[in-house]
């Protein structure tokens, strides 16, 4: 299997470990990713605050290039990219004026977009294309005794909820259970991590991240599993700052793909685990968990 792939800026910067681990586990599952040639920034949430039309044009270039390359699907691992590309897809389907503007702009680059590219998330591919059975077969070191709080964040399930429920998503739960981990039931699966507010308005943003860490800890989780480079950054890089404000919460955050890699027996370094600021260690005595 081979999937066209849109890495996005974060996976080349702060979220490098996400790309490293995702490529490694997909390769292990016999799936290769083909990077979209000369992709550009999706626009994320910030661009939409400045100029909606330009944000749409920015995103459309990627989809148009994907279509021209003959791709019918595009894998977007970053939550913001996933949402923004999906949002453009919805907008041009629903609002003819947006479609016209986008086409006009694309024409400047001799591009054209018919709307045929389906934007997909790795979780969607893993569950609905590769399948849990194929994943289970690859598990050589089941994550037995590891209590994981699955954290989906916002933008992969909202507002479009294309492959999972907007309030109670379960795809990552199923995946983690397949890896042998103990999935912690907790109600903050889709609560906001603070996004960029952690940097701009720390007293508001960091508090949201703190709430997630604290509740996961209260539920006895050893680790949070995330799908988004920004969530990971907030929960991992700002961890010291959060502890500084609210006291110790010894709980690391890793990408779900890193946990998959560990279960597949891949080397932690290959999965980018050495890039975590809060080091993740497998609990040696799984039975001695937090209350």
């Amino acid at each position: 299997m081979k999937y066209p792939y849109f890495p996005g800026c974060s996976l080349r910067g702060l979220g490098r470990a996400y790309e490293e681990s995702l490529l490694a586990v997909l390769h292990h599952l016999g799936v290769e990713l083909q990077e979209l040639e000369d992709w550009n920034c999706c626009g994320a949430t910030a661009y939409m605050s400045v100029d909606e039309t330009q944000a749409a044009v920015l995103a459309s270039r990627n989809l148009a290039r994907a279509e021209r390359a003959g791709f019918s699907e595009l894998l977007a691992p970053c939550s913001a990219c996933y949402l923004v590309l999906n949002k453009l897809q919805h907008s041009i389907e629903q609002f003819p004026d947006i479609q016209q503007t986008v086409q006009r702009a694309l024409a400047q680059a001799n591009l054209n977009y018919r709307g045929s590219v389906r934007v997909r998330h790795p979780l969607d591919i893993l569950l609905h294309e590769i399948g849990l059975d194929a994943i289970r077969e690859r598990v050589v070191q089941p994550l037995r005794g590891l209590k994981v709080a699955p954290y989906y964040g916002c933008q992969i399930v909202r507002p479009y909820a294309t492959f999972d429920d907007a309030h109670q998503p379960t795809t990552m739960d199923q995946l983690l259970a397949t890896l042998g981990a103990e999935v912690v039931v907790w109600p903050l699966k889709t609560k906001c991590c603070g996004g960029t507010l952690t940097g701009t308005v720390p007293e508001a943003g960091l508090r949201l991240s703190y709430i997630l860490l604290k509740e996961a800890q209260r539920r006895g989780a050893h680790v949070l599993a995330t799908v988004c480079p920004l969530c990971h950054f907030n929960l991992d890089a700002y961890h010291a700052e959060i502890e500084h404000r609210w006291g110790p919460i010894p709980i690391p955050t890793v990408y779900f793909s890193q946990l998959m890699g560990l279960a597949f027996g891949l080397a932690p370094r290959q999965l980018g685990l050495h890039r975590n600021l809060v080091p993740f260690r497998f609990p040696s005595e799984p039975t001695v968990a937090c209350p």
Binding site: C9, S10, R12, G13, L14, G15, R16, A17, D38, W39, N40, C41, G43, A44, T45, A46, Y47, M48, S49, V50, D51, E52, T53, Q54, V57, L58, R61, T101, R104, A105, L106, A107, Q108, A109, L111, G153, C154, Q155, R158, P159, A161, A166, H167, T190, K191, C192, G194, G195, L197, G199, T200, V201, P202, G205, L208, A237, A240, R275, N276, L277
Partner: protein, 154 residues
């Protein structure tokens, strides 16, 4: 947050334009869309806040020293200029523009990120930058008249 989101909607309807566009509330939205999927009237609150933010920037009335609009503008400028975002570089710019002290306070994180290879200052850029610029230029005449999105998800 100077107004609640509910107050923002009411102020929009009552035509209190200055109060809305100068408010900090619209900038505090982190775009998590929780309100949009839960609104019983199916009002696309996140999208409406986007439209308000754009209007505030167009009219130049956003709160000047509030970091969020500064970040949004720097982000857009970098995306326009390079086609991609170099996060570390963006954060540095934000802090130099808004809050030197925050930059000083964050040195520990910065060092740790450098140590783990996540902090890259060499700007990422796309190859066909002229192509992207031509596309964005084609929207210039339209970008000034950004309209409110329809209130309902269809």
């Amino acid at each position: 947050m100077d107004y609640t989101p509910r107050q923002i909607m009411a102020l929009v309807r009552a035509d209190f334009k200055n109060e809305v566009l100068q408010s900090r509330t619209i900038w505090l939205c982190a775009s998590c869309y929780a309100c949009t999927v839960d609104c019983p009237r199916e009002i696309r609150i996140t999208d409406i806040l986007y439209a308000l933010k754009q209007r505030a920037i167009q009219e130049g009335v956003y709160p000047r020293h509030f970091p969020i609009p500064v970040l949004a503008r720097e982000f857009a400028a970098m995306a326009r200029r390079h086609g991609r975002i170099t996060e570390a570089y963006l954060v540095l710019k934000l802090f130099t523009r808004t809050n030197w002290r925050a930059l000083l306070r964050s040195w520990r994180i910065g060092l740790a990120l450098i140590r783990t290879g996540r902090f890259r200052l060499r700007p990422e850029r796309i190859q066909r930058l002229d192509e992207l610029k031509a596309m964005l230029a084609a929207t210039a005449s339209h970008s000034s008249q950004s309209s409110f999105p329809p209130a309902k998800v269809t």
